[in-house]
Symmetry: D2
Subunit: 405 residues, 4 copies
């Protein structure tokens, strides 16, 4: 039986950042309790942004009553229960650690941090906070795409047998044009890395999430195809809105691109599989192609985010003549998350995974359980990103990656 | 420039019905103003349902302050500006006409009515109401799927040339199992017809919407493959929740299915194209496959809702050796509706079309313009459904269909 | 154990016609014995064509020792065992009947004839000849595409349960251009009909072949979108080579197109399924899209010749969450015909079905068994084509179709 | 104008090997002159195999008059013009060098050799022989798949702009089963390497062929998932027929697999692209998935051999809203090789590429021109395979690869 929302306590959330990620998180917080039982009522209590007017306009749209320009105010406010960090990576560590130390639950966008050192500090802070009841989670939202969550279930249930191959790529093309400006995502001091950290982080996480394997070592190459780019009047993330931490004000001229445009990685998992990864913003014609194929001794799964409601599953125990990759529409009542939504065949979108993320986070808070993925998992991804950068800087030199601290 | 919401007037909406369609409409009303400039602020002022407790639980989820069990109360309430009708078709005419006569704007789910006579009365009521400033629209939501809206743009811009073929099907499989119960959608007195009116109406509308053609005559066959079904304790729509107008209380036994399971139609448009339509709930393995292909002298488009973010476009003016159907991800900023959402490649879901519908309806109200599709358009679809039933009842006898009143 | 070819008798074949169909048949006759055990050795003994020089060039290429310009010479020659008819439909009846009466086995290209009356005479001749050991077959080659033959096996084995829907289309676009000339396939006196008989015949046959159902009645519309076409200097079939029976010599001007450009059909099978068919040469961007989908109570199959090595199979007895259309590459050793060729995944082409057809024909001859499809089956297709023409000429009037003579 | 075959000289070919590759080559030699103008008439003059009876049966099927069991006899026979080598890699060098030294033209299956040293000797022999008019070619047949040849044309014509990414994989699954026996392809002394040389060689060649780039350095990992396999009574290639060089006679027991099951490679081209390669026989459900995607600044192409008649092309100069990967059916008259065959949409199979290879080889011989790919190109692939093995044996250590001798 469904609890009525009236009986539940509130989870008062402060949203830090209001651009692309901010709006999708805000939409998720308001939508989650309508379709999922959470055990708590998320309330968007405040939003924080440097540009107060823009932040207020955002707040009006999402019914948020309070606007701040300094995140410290919110992090230390007793009326806030949780902090949701949607700003560029260079700000993650400072905000997250302060929030955790102030006893707030934290949901932090990926990648966890811009450097391994930051990620380690954040993980330590999360572990200390947990002892006091404050819980932290990193936002690898794609895990909550039903097709990928179902892929994990198939692996977990042994339907793939022993996994031999992981084949992952994340292909975009939004900076192919040499005239595209130097937005913050192309600046190392703000973004940490380029395609590697922004989108490579997702496929490293997804590969490990779906298979349960952990990468034991990797070899990588990176490339920056377009070496300099024109400075934008006010750079931002994907589009042209001003963002917190943007280099607003600089005009004209070109500057060096300080992050990678693309990264390719080969590796081995501790469990014995071979893995390949490719993250690029130069795959002309591919818009958001997160592709994951896993081959095991008993079966395989394949996924492409450009058809996000589909999972392809090959059951190798079928007779050879009637075997083949099945196009499963992951919209059945028994599929992860799908039962909360529409009838079979009525697909979900990109944003629904954020609703699932918000729901899972809120439920974990309500139950006092560690939400997944934890900062420790985010740290492990950071180790992989760090190893990839080191390898790429040393002619693809092999890097062992240990799971431990 | 975006107006701030504070400056805008409210559009106070009464939602009639709270099951599958009700929830997706409610979600749309709250989401639309966050992503689209509407010129008015939609406010879900009240919800109406026979089961007050269930309706209240629904109202709590969507932040609706008022719950009623008699729609007449809302239709006549001066605090209500618009009525959104999400109940089975047998109730459409009475509610819509009363609301329009009371000066309310009306958004009515499709098909417009269960009979041609009802649809004609509703259209007449809409025309009279319009003279007094009350506007009516029928909810063929799929028109607002970006890929289909973009298909229409391609046709409008002449990219397809003279249209020769329309090939549409709507394939589902949710009642293939002979043990599936007799829900209200399988009862003629509530649903009007079966696959024909429920899903066939959508493809008739989409075909005409995308091409701008109007069917001039048709020939049809229908079939009810499973002649009797077990009575459910409380039948409902697609799933097992009680619905307004359900035959709650009947238990055990089997009864005759009074609607079609499937319909096939061939026809000609007034503009000279050949058209085929198929609507079925017995296409095993097809969940919500709304397929539309249009072939013209200069190009073709093809769509399948199971991959709703894609439109396939063949440009026949390309050299033969480099021509082929292009898989366009309809997620670019210039695509209909898409610019309001996420970056390219980050697909939308089934529900987003309802947000677009709500946005378009609200904008039309704000501007005092007739929203599309009008009740007159809904009536023309009703004529086609009626012609199909007559043809099917007479061995596929040809039926001319006139557009006039 | 494989017989050595040396031990086998010869099957001396006279090929009538040497253009597109002639070359593919010639290639098939020489290839079949290399990959299939036939029980007889097919020998291309002679080719017949009106243009002796062109025929001789053809004969040289395929190692055919004898060239004739009058088919009567070959039909009456004791050194010929079988006659393979690859000329336009207006010549089928005369040649086939003469050959059968002369005691030759006959393989005749489809459609069997240009008129129902001719088809009936041919079938009668085949039945009489059979009593004397001469066997006749009509060349619905697509049946021998492994994916379609495998679809039939799945139906035969009950994997689809009770069949509810047949959905077939054959889409081409080679005459979309209004400037395409009036080739013989667009002249009723030579081709019998247009898209209906040329390609519609194939999907009518395939639908019945795969399902085992027989159409009991149909309703049809046809259309000729381009009413007149320019006369070609020497018209031919698909391409520009002169063909037997072409209207060589006519130059300049335009003439009326006397066949249909497209046909759409709805029908019922005697076994209770609904069926739709569409044959067109105006589906811009579709080159040879033979599509067949069959939905049954337990499963479905779907096929598109543009991906000829794939069959899509949905097994509805799978649990809903892991069910979906499987893309079966029909290249496994146990698949029909496939074991004779390459390893799995090494696809076959259009022409391989003709090799299979030649092999099956030769094997039937060797065993003295009736090859399938017989002329009687070809006649039944002719009845359907005739019914479609009658229906289309009478505003889609329903036509019952009986299977009997 | 087409030459009549009577006017042309013969090219008398000795085929060495008669199993899978032998039969496809034999079929190609007899088919090529029927569909292509070659300037010479290929005649299959002899076949060589260790098992004389099996070879004779093969010879009978393909109309080959002469059977030998010692290839030396043929290599030194003045009645032979060309030698076609279709035996395992360990025999390539000896036969090819002897044939070239005897003045024969040579077509040698890929990979060129089992070791770099052998490949170098073969290339030297080819260069010396060329001075005397004997020409050598290595059989990377997939180059002649029309879709891949057309991809090369698009790159050559600048349609892709500056190439940034090469993404290639060759996925099979025929040895996933641990009970699959130790066939010769799994023995290093016969096959040279495993997936790397057998199928990895193809994608290395295709990637360079299509793009015109040359790999400048690589890093690789290999893995043998199943370490031991049961000994077969008589091992062979893909299937169970005895092959020249098989370990016939050994029975029972298990032995160590001495080749890789899979290889993954990352690299850079001299021209500045990043490249990834994966070759595996453990991609469950993938039968012969040769996938190649190339991304450039102006466009991209993508190919999968499991749909061999399709090339996907994205033209990035199209407006964003109407851009997308086009599914080009590479069956148009202007497409490479396709015009010689059937009308558009009538797809080709795996074997047709061997017909094209035979045709191109014969034409080059007729014109006295170097056929492509030369042994030097085969050697360059061998260098890459060698570098991959070295890298894999040294923890993915980077290997520079130079193009020179």
């Amino acid at each position: 039986m469904t609890s009525t929302t009236a009986e539940l306590g509130n989870l008062r959330i402060a949203l830090i950042g209001y651009s692309f990620m901010g709006s999708i998180h805000a939409q998720a917080w308001t939508t989650a309790p309508r379709f999922f039982d959470l055990g708590v009522v998320p309330v968007l209590a405040a939003v924080c942004g440097r540009d107060k007017e823009a932040a207020r306009s955002f707040a009006d749209k999402f019914g948020i009553g309070r606007v701040e320009t300094d995140w410290r105010t919110l992090v230390n406010d007793p009326d806030i229960d949780a902090v949701d960090i949607c700003v560029p990576g260079n700000l993650h560590a400072e905000i997250a650690i302060a929030a955790l130390q102030a006893g707030k639950h934290v949901l932090c966008e990926k990648p966890l941090a811009n450097t391994l050192a930051e990620a380690e500090k954040m993980t330590l802070a999360a572990e200390e906070a947990k002892a006091h009841g404050a819980l932290a989670m990193v936002g690898f939202s794609y895990r909550r795409t039903p097709a990928l969550a179902y892929a994990k279930e198939l692996v977990r249930d042994g339907r793939l047998g022993s996994i031999r191959h992981i084949r992952a790529s994340y292909l975009q093309d939004w900076i192919v044009d040499e005239d595209f400006p130097l937005v913050w995502r192309l600046e190392k001091d703000k973004a940490g890395s380029g395609a590697l950290g922004d989108i490579g982080a997702h496929i490293l996480d997804l590969a490990q999430y779906v298979t349960g394997h952990r990468l034991a070592g990797i070899s990588a190459l990176t490339e920056t195809f377009v070496k300099t780019r024109r400075l934008a009047g006010a750079s931002s993330g994907l589009q042209a809105q001003p963002a917190p931490g943007g280099n607003g004000g600089t005009k004209g001229g070109r500057a060096t691109v300080t992050v990678d445009d693309a990264a390719v990685v080969i590796g081995r998992t501790a469990e014995g599989a071979l893995a390949t990864f490719e993250a690029t913003r130069f795959a002309t014609g591919r818009k958001n192609a997160i592709r994951l194929e896993v081959n095991g001794s008993l079966g395989s799964v394949a996924f492409d985010f450009e058809d996000l409601n589909e999972l392809w599953f090959h059951d190798h125990t079928d007779p050879a003549e009637s075997a083949g990759f099945r196009r499963i529409l992951v919209t059945e009542p028994n599929h992860p998350y799908a039962g909360a939504w529409w009838p079979p065949g009525h697909g979900l979108g990109y944003d629904h995974a954020f609703v699932h993320q918000a729901a899972d986070f809120a439920r974990s808070i309500a139950r006092g359980e560690q939400p997944e993925p934890s900062f420790a998992e985010g740290l492990q991804i950071q180790r992989l990103l760090d190893a990839a950068e080191t390898s790429a800087a040393n002619n693809a030199q092999w890097q062992d990656v240990t799971a431990g601290a």
